[in-house]
Symmetry: C2
Subunit: 331 residues, 2 copies
DNA sequence: TTGAAAGCGCTAACAC
DNA sequence: GTGTTAGCGCTTTCAA
């Protein structure tokens, strides 16, 4: 048989569709007897309310969408786990999609917010220009998390990437580094802020940055190796390297170690993110911990605000505390 | 102003709603002039068709949902990337959700298929019993990928986990191992199959398995370390260890190395998955490569079949070829 | 407490 | 080639 509708349930239960709907939505004004009859009919027919019909009437979906370029980072999956849990607590379902850095794909997904497929949007790493993000956010419920541009109009939840980079660079200098290099991720908003923090810390100590290298495209383990190799080509090699992510730091450490250098004695290496790779590296990486799960929870909370409180499109910036994790890759 | 509707567009363009709808859906029978007027009105009003209304009428959503316990594995994100790309090629959007191993959460997400929020479902690692998966799949469009129970009624896309484990165990024996241990993941369907393949390879050579250890709960880097420590407690330690995943193998290698053993000279270690960690490990891991991206693509292709061809709920099992990747952690 | 009925925004069948 | 209209399945008034 075709999919049962409220009509079918009503007929089977011997009541009107109104009553069925009231039972479905937990309305108080239903007699015990009617409620039982309806529930029996629902079970008998394996009835489920059709989402599109319900959404159309109610004008909301109780769904949110979380967007990122890719899902292969532990920070992202932790953030989205936080979003998912917080969403579930409020009766929402959170869906995830990867844009793959493709603008068209991203547009299509953002359109899911515009066309009412979802009530809200969490954006991790937008491909579109910041202005476009802001335009969407002006009219609809959007929150950014982690990768947020450093502008006045910016809004969203993240750590203070610049400060965090500043702090870990400071740690490198406090433990004796004089000649500091960085493997930077200029392709990411957070990466650019981390580079700024790095530079700032050096400047304050009257130091000039040694080499600042950045890869094209993929900023991963192999990029770390490749960039580290370049680092070693210099006549005077640095005595410390700050890497934009743990995975790149792991690649860097690997290359240095293979070249016969000791980390941290000959050269100290610091990462960023405190992802699983930080502990898997030998030596284990000194890094910065982002409270990823918590950031996801907070991001959803702010999104909920925008979705439920009319005109609550406040352009606020929420910073969560980062934490220096000192391990064995620095002195 | 409130959200514009087809009515508004029609009024602005000076045509009827029928014509607007025809333009929206690329129907041929529209004059060039009308098409232009409509498109102009759409732009002017920033009109987007409301998804729920459209879905309700069309009785489909052009969306699929991909489910997994968690998203923190590279195999999963690659599989889902494949699903997403294949879906996009066919005009579908693929959404992802994590169940976190929570049965209620999973039910709620599977309900999205039952209530028409999505047209199809890709299941990676179900929490629900296999019978339940089969029941859903009998009536609706479902495909399993990777984690598929080894039963007659099973359906879905994966490698032959048992054979792959058999092959790598054979490799271990071919390179001299006589006393083989395994760190097995009994919590996963694939893990149980890999254990079977391991046992079978040994049996065929007239060998008995040495220790087979399996962790409770999380099967990750730390589990690998913990289990490796147990391995070393035995009076006669094994000369080879087959690990259910690369990450566990990485933990195992780390613990062995820290204990002063040389891998592979003193003890060989093999992983599974060829995930990024395999290359990041020192020594780099011998492992089995799963064609994750391709599996995702194939899974969507089969799902598309079920969604579009009536009664195409074929209970087929598709195996993709795995590949032994010999690196430095085995002799 | 219940039933009848309007209508959410859209598509497609039908008439012209 | 275009306009009119009947619903898709649901929720929610409004009366009774």
């Amino acid at each position: 048989m075709a999919r049962p509708t409220v009509q079918d349930v009503a007929k089977t239960a011997g009541v009107s569709v109104g009553t069925v709907s009231r039972v479905l939505n937990g309305s108080s004004a239903v007699s015990e007897a009617a409620k039982e009859k309806v529930n029996a009919a629902i079970r008998q027919l394996s009835y489920r309310p059709l989402a599109s019909a319900r959404d159309l009437r109610r004008d909301r979906t109780m769904r949110v969408l979380a967007l990122a370029k890719n899902l292969d980072s532990l920070v992202i999956s932790e953030v989205f786990r936080g979003v998912g849990d917080a969403a579930a607590d409020s009766g929402y379902v959170s869906l995830i999609a990867a844009t793959d850095g493709d603008l068209d794909r991203e547009q299509q997904l953002v359109d899911m917010l515009r066309n009412g497929s979802v009530d809200g949007l969490v954006i991790f790493s937008p491909t579109m220009p910041d202005d476009d993000v802001n335009t969407v956010a002006e009219q609809l419920s959007v929150i950014q998390v982690c990768e947020i541009v450093d502008a006045e109009a910016a809004f969203g939840v993240s750590i203070d990437d610049r400060q965090a980079a500043y702090d870990i660079t400071k740690h490198l200098m406090d433990t004796g580094a004089k000649k500091l290099a960085m493997l930077a991720h200029r392709g990411a908003r957070s990466g650019r802020l981390r580079e700024e923090g790095f530079r700032q810390a050096l400047t304050e100590q009257g130091l000039e940055p040694d080499q600042i290298l950045f890869g094209e495209g993929n900023f991963g383990f192999h990029a770390g190796r490749t960039l580290a190799r370049k680092l070693l080509k210099a006549k005077d090699r640095p005595d410390a390297v700050f890497c934009g992510t743990d995975v790149v730091a792991a690649g860097c450490v690997r290359e240095l170690t293979d070249a016969g250098l000791r980390v941290p004695q000959d050269i100290a290496v610091a990462g960023f993110d405190d992802s699983a790779q930080a502990e898997m590296c030998v030596p284990e990486l000194t890094t910065v911990r982002q409270p990823a799960y918590e950031m996801g929870r907070v991001a959803f909370a702010e999104l909920l605000d925008r979705m439920t409180v009319p005109g609550a499109h406040r352009q606020g910036r929420t910073f969560l505390a980062h934490e220096l994790v000192i391990r064995d890759s620095t002195k």
